[in-house]
Symmetry: C2
């Protein structure tokens, strides 16, 4: 999956929506002001998010955007994939049967990494981020020790 600032923008904007909570829809102008992202760029991002049914827009004065699902049901991976469309990490895209040997090796390496990244982001919901924010605010500032267990042999192992 591709990882660029585009996906980050989308996540930040969605998080803004999530934090805004249930007090009516939120306008893109507000998010633009909050996050320093241009309005029309946000429009493009939200167009993609809308297609993927992650947000719901209402027009007219007092309108804006809602989250289409509860924060718990929206994963970061969903958000990123909506705007930063998935591009194959591998060159031959699977169809061109990779001439055995080196290409196939790196092929599976990138596939592993790719699904690795996806799983990482898929297990984190907007609700998780919100909860984390509440905790950070409450606990002043102490460095968190985010560690993820990982077995390196898994790749070398057939």
């Amino acid at each position: 999956m591709r990882l660029s600032t585009k996906g980050r923008y989308a996540v930040t904007a969605m998080l803004d929506l999530a934090l805004h909570g249930d007090s009516g829809p939120m306008t893109l102008s507000d998010i633009s002001a909050n996050q320093g992202i241009s309005l029309s760029y946000l429009e493009q991002l939200f167009a993609a998010l809308r297609v993927k049914k992650l947000v719901r827009g209402v027009r007219g004065p007092g309108g804006g955007y809602y989250l289409a699902k509860p924060t718990k049901e929206i994963s970061i991976a969903e958000v990123v994939c909506a705007v930063d469309e998935w591009v194959e990490f591998t060159r031959c895209g699977g169809k061109e049967d990779c001439q055995d040997g080196q290409r196939c090796l790196t092929h599976s390496l990138w596939n592993d990494l790719s699904s690795q990244i996806y799983e990482f982001l898929d297990k984190i919901s907007l609700a998780d981020l919100v909860a984390r924010g509440v905790k950070i605010e409450a606990e002043a500032e102490n460095e968190d020790q985010t560690k993820i267990t990982q077995n390196p042999e898994s790749v070398a192992a057939a």
Copy 2:
């Protein structure tokens, strides 16, 4: 860290070198023919790899490139970072103190993911890939079940 085809090219080329083994230096022309990468693009990649002391070039007829270290001591992360130079995932780059709240949340999220990816690739050496290739060749074709244990709470946890 950035992940693009550039890094994949570098890894594939290095793997080609690794598989070529100790039978003298390998020319970029050979790699170019093997991998379908243009010669001068390879030259640029290898210029970067040479600066990072991952390969050693010898000129003249019969010349080419050696790996500068044993395959076991070259991690995929090293190779990728050599050509695909590290770009900050976060916007403010750390110096601009992120105005507390949303940005800080996604900030640490991307940092976690970034180091996550780096660690994943750093724990895999060229030797691992070579070994994996030998196994794949030996065992005909049965799908591997590469799984990496991961605790999703680590991100939400403060």
